[in-house]
Amino acid sequence: MATDPEAIVERVVRRESGRMTSALTRLFGLHNLPLVEDVVNDALCRALEVWKYRGVPENPSAWLMAAAKNRAVDALRRERTARRLEPELEAQLSSEWTLVPTVEEVFGDEALRDEQLRMMFACCHARLPEEAQVALMLHLLGGFGVRELAAAFLVSEAAMEKRLQRGKAVLAASGRLPEVTAERVAEGIGAVHGALYLLFNEGYHGSHAEETVRAELCAEAIHLATLLAESPSTASPGTHALLALMCLTAARLPGRVAGGELVSLAAQDRSTWDRELVRRGVAALEASASGDRLTALHVEAAIAWEHTSAPSHEATDFARIAELYDVLVRLRPSPVVALSRAIAIGEAEGPERALEEMARIEGLERLGEYPFYAAALAEQHLRAGRRAEAREGFRRALSLARNPAEARFLEGRLAACA
């Protein structure tokens, strides 16, 4: 993680802007999001201006939160007669007896945690498509700007702006920031898990963005999943499994790219893997084992653990991984899962078995444009000593590559067939 002042400021600003947005939305209501964003921007601009001259304060987070509180009080005094605020707090905010104490309360540590959860559930509104849910979460909770989001999802800035605007319109119409009750959790936690899973995968496997943006997407997904895991109302076994899956997978990120190039799991330098994330992943994995339901997330976390805990590629227990994929294929059938299963079987039982399983994948036609299907075929041929077939497979994969990093990786594999 970067340690120079500018990077620290950027990280603080990003993290705090999500907390500020959540707290301010609690005060102003979801229908006043544009005002909320104005107040956040105001506080951020003020901070950066002051810091430029006086240097970054010792505790920049506390400084920013104090600025946000002051701006909020100003904005509430200015707007409270003209606007409808959050109905539940309207009476308290209308009187000077209670205005400042209410703002203080909403910015308290416990309250901030709760408000971020509320915002997470609000963003996963059933009327929003998943891609909009993810964009809103990153924007409102993760402090990602329109330009960064456009780059992360490879759409134009205008298209991303539109996606966010539509999303915010749905949020505005949805009324108050939802209270995260047991009922609400039961009803909505699946959607929240789904959106976080998508967000994490976009970061880890994403075909679009540059590596740095993608690491930030993974970090944000882990941050939000950690919030869920730390709150009693949402800390279900499924939440812990999701967090375990993310930590155990993201731990490998530092080894996944070397000198700007993708490195296959087999070739990664395992000493670069993030031990702290492994530790957190293991703790989450243990916490996930308390329920009586085995979910797809549990199985995926277990697979991630098998890979991450193995001392080397050769020492990996691929037979166990193949068994886990057997379970996963039943719980959540998809051609990509089936492909991973076939590859694991190949590692355990040899390339011919992998090819057999790959030919049998249900919905195989949906992998036609997926470069790593062609590449996986090629790998098996290469292992079996059929270099011509391998070359052809890698060439096909190369023609499907979705970004320069994938293309360079596949060129490297092609060169290995010579």
Binding site: A91, Q92, S94, S95, E96, W97, T98, P101
Partner: protein
Amino acid sequence: MADFVFMFRGGDPISSAEARANWPKWTAWFKRLADEGHVKSLGNPLEPAGKLVRGKGKAVTDGPFAEAKDVVNGFITVTARNLEEAAEIAKGCPSLERDGAVEVRPVMQPVLPM
């Protein structure tokens, strides 16, 4: 049910630093009143100083306008069954512990001329 205005008199001026430290007691009291359904409108605290405009001559003088112990420091409007209950409610006011007073006045409900 009827409405009553509570006027908080005397005690410490609410804007003093010491009284600020006392603020959570006020917040807690108002919260209790709201939870019990007694708050009609939270009103506002008042600065002790101001101006007084008086009489036909409309002469303007600077405040404060009474002895410190009589200065109105704030007000709220409370809902209660009757004046007796309103006075009971007023006994919870934190300013009483600092030798303040609460003036409890029913909101007048003028009748239409027959």
